[in-house]
């Protein structure tokens, strides 16, 4: 397997064109005609209300759901044509949640990220262990590497899942609400980490409900509503009272981030109380 692993400098573009998907027995399409690309060195945040189709869109992009219309390509190769291992070497995914009847330790969990790098009978080597250690350190889970996942807090488990995706060493990273369950500090740590990965040349897509952090960290935003791409572009182009109020069906104001910091002025969304409408 080692020989087929792509070079670490490989920076492919993951592109979805006119993606459409209707779930079985659903009346309306979950995703309709959405096009987007996850480019190297870019942090793209997908935002939108519950049920807007964000998770379905991520599943289409990751290859786990085949689109009914449109297609997904990785550097202009159809994603569906890739072998499972090849795909996992290119795209790492942190899905919203997971559970298991069989407990594992953090180290075992993060080690699973090396699956695509190893043959069936191959034992993990020095480099695999180094990558796992590095991923655990970056997600601040190295301190309890040998504890079981079930004994950890929700935030610690979440970071272990992100570490597992990093251990895949894939150039494209997709995360579905990775900040859910994280406290203020780790939400900030996580977005800083995503920023670092982007600086290292990864293409990162993050689904999030945290409009304010998305505005401060993401290069581009995609606003989804009822399966459609309603707005896209830089944070201050997408986030405005006019675009958000009808989507969330809630009164709000968008104000500039007061600073200090390099992200001073980033649009921050403040939902109003119902009685102040």
């Amino acid at each position: 397997m080692r020989d087929t692993a792509p070079s670490r400098d490989w920076r492919p573009v993951l592109r979805g064109r006119d993606l459409t998907f209707t779930h079985r027995r659903a009346e309306e399409a979950a995703v309709r005609g959405v096009s987007l690309s996850v480019s190297p060195g870019t942090l793209l945040a997908v935002v939108g209300p519950n049920g807007a189709g964000k998770t379905t869109l991520m599943r289409l992009l990751s290859g786990s759901l085949p689109p009914q219309e449109g297609g997904v390509t990785l550097d202009d190769r159809p994603l569906a044509g890739l072998a499972d291992r090849e795909r996992a070497l290119a795209i790492a995914v942190v899905p919203q949640s997971e559970s298991s009847p069989f407990p594992v330790t953090v180290r075992e969990m993060v080690g699973m990220g090396r699956y695509a790098h190893l043959g069936a009978w191959e034992r993990s080597g020095t480099r695999d262990r180094a990558v796992v250690d590095d991923a655990m350190a970056r997600c601040a889970v190295a301190g309890f590497a040998d504890r079981q996942l079930g004994e950890l807090s929700g935030g610690e488990r979440q970071r272990a899942r992100i570490a597992r995706a990093l251990a895949q060493e894939a150039p494209v990273l997709l995360l579905d609400e990775p900040t859910a369950g994280l406290d203020l500090r780790y939400r900030m740590e996580l977005f800083h980490l995503l920023r670092q990965l982007r600086a290292a040349g990864l293409g990162v897509l993050v689904i999030t409900h945290d409009l304010n952090l998305a505005a401060r960290f993401a290069d581009r935003l995609l606003l989804l509503d009822r399966g459609r791409a309603l707005a896209r572009g830089a944070p201050d182009e997408v986030l405005s009272r006019e675009s958000l109020e009808p989507v969330y069906e809630w009164p709000l104001r968008v104000v500039p981030h007061p600073g200090p910091g390099s992200d001073t002025g980033a649009p921050q969304t403040v939902p109003l109380r119902r009685d102040d409408r």
Binding site: A83, A88, P95, E98, F102, T105, M112, S124, Q168
Partner: protein
């Protein structure tokens, strides 16, 4: 992972000790000293032949059946993501029992004794194909393990009804032999059946062991396993076919011996965790040692008569497992 070779070596030592124990004790009063003399070529011919033609093939059969049940039980737990799964959960044993009981009740087994394992094996294979086909039609295009488990349980229940029907028509003697077979019984062991079993087990065991890493992924859920690079559908189908083949071969050789395939993998999980790279081979070795000991006890307790091995595995296995549970999980 660093503990894996040492832990497997420890289990292998236990297996060798269990094998020596099993071969050394029996109804005829041949003891450990005679074993040594027979193996080194001295000793008298009767002793030699008892050891080499009776006890050794029987011990080898117990070892293989136990290993197959431990390994396949562990595989079904991984495939179905269900800690309660065991080798017989998907109806393979029911199919085998229908085949075996049919051979016994129709009297074919008296004239042609080798038809009994053959009937059991064919019944098991038929059950495997039937369960898979029902599951495939119920969830086209992919193998849904929830549908698979439903299909297996229902078809197993149907086979049980067929067995009762066959037994209700049986005479007293064949009724008794059929029940004995279903309780699990290794007394028919000879080198031919043991060799055949080994031959059938090798491909199944190799296939399952090659999936150890994929099972680790699968335990986190199919979607996660897919993202990490596992070929989920292929892994599941291979696991199902390989484990079913092993169960079919084991049941054909030794009848329906219960509890080994449930208890052994869990004992290993509790002691050493859930990494299938260790768990799968350890379940094979621990199953081997466990059934060797259980079968020796089955031969000794009421000697010169014998208990059905399956009774011993249940009676000895359940308290052992409860003790393990009470001791608490892995630390």
């Amino acid at each position: 992972m660093t503990h894996t070779p040492r832990r497997l070596a420890l289990l292998a030592l236990i297996v060798v000790a269990a094998l020596a124990f099993s071969v050394s004790f029996g109804a005829s009063g041949i003891g450990p000293g005679d074993l040594w003399r027979a193996l080194s070529g001295s000793g008298d011919a009767t002793t030699r032949s008892i050891l080499l033609q009776l006890r050794l093939p029987r011990a080898a059969l117990a070892a293989l059946v136990g290993g197959a049940l431990g390994l396949s039980g562990c595989t079904f737990q991984a495939l179905l993501r269900n800690p309660l799964a065991e080798p017989y959960v998907l109806g393979v044993s029911g199919g085998a029992a229908v085949g075996a009981v049919a051979v016994v009740v129709t009297g074919i087994g008296v004239a042609l004794p080798w038809m009994l394992p053959l009937g059991a094996f064919l019944g098991a294979m038929a059950a495997m194909a039937l369960v898979l086909e029902v599951a495939r039609r119920a969830a086209p295009g992919r193998m849904d393990t929830r549908v698979l488990i439903l299909s297996g349980v229902i078809i197993g229940a149907f086979f049980n009804a067929v067995i009762l029907l066959l037994l209700s028509m049986a005479d007293v003697e064949s009724f008794r032999s059929a029940i004995f077979w279903m309780m699990g019984n290794l007394s028919g062991a000879d080198w031919a059946s043991t060799g055949l079993l080994a031959l059938l087990l090798v491909p199944g065991a190799v296939a399952v062991l090659s999936l150890a890493r994929a099972f680790n992924l699968l335990s986190r859920g199919e979607e996660v396993a897919f993202y990490l690079g596992a070929s989920v559908q292929r892994v599941k189908l291979t696991a199902y076919l390989a484990a079913s083949l092993m169960v079919a071969a084991a049941v054909a050789a030794g009848g329906v011996i219960g509890f080994v395939g449930l208890i052994v993998p869990h004992a290993v999980r509790l002691a050493w965790g859930n990494d299938h790279r260790l768990l799968l081979p350890a379940s094979f070795l621990a199953g081997t040692a466990f059934l060797l000991l259980a079968d020796t006890i089955a031969r000794l307790v009421v000697a010169p008569a014998e208990l059905p091995t399956g009774v011993v595995t249940a009676v000895a296995g359940v308290p052992f497992f409860v003790a393990l549970l009470l001791r608490g999980g892995r630390r």
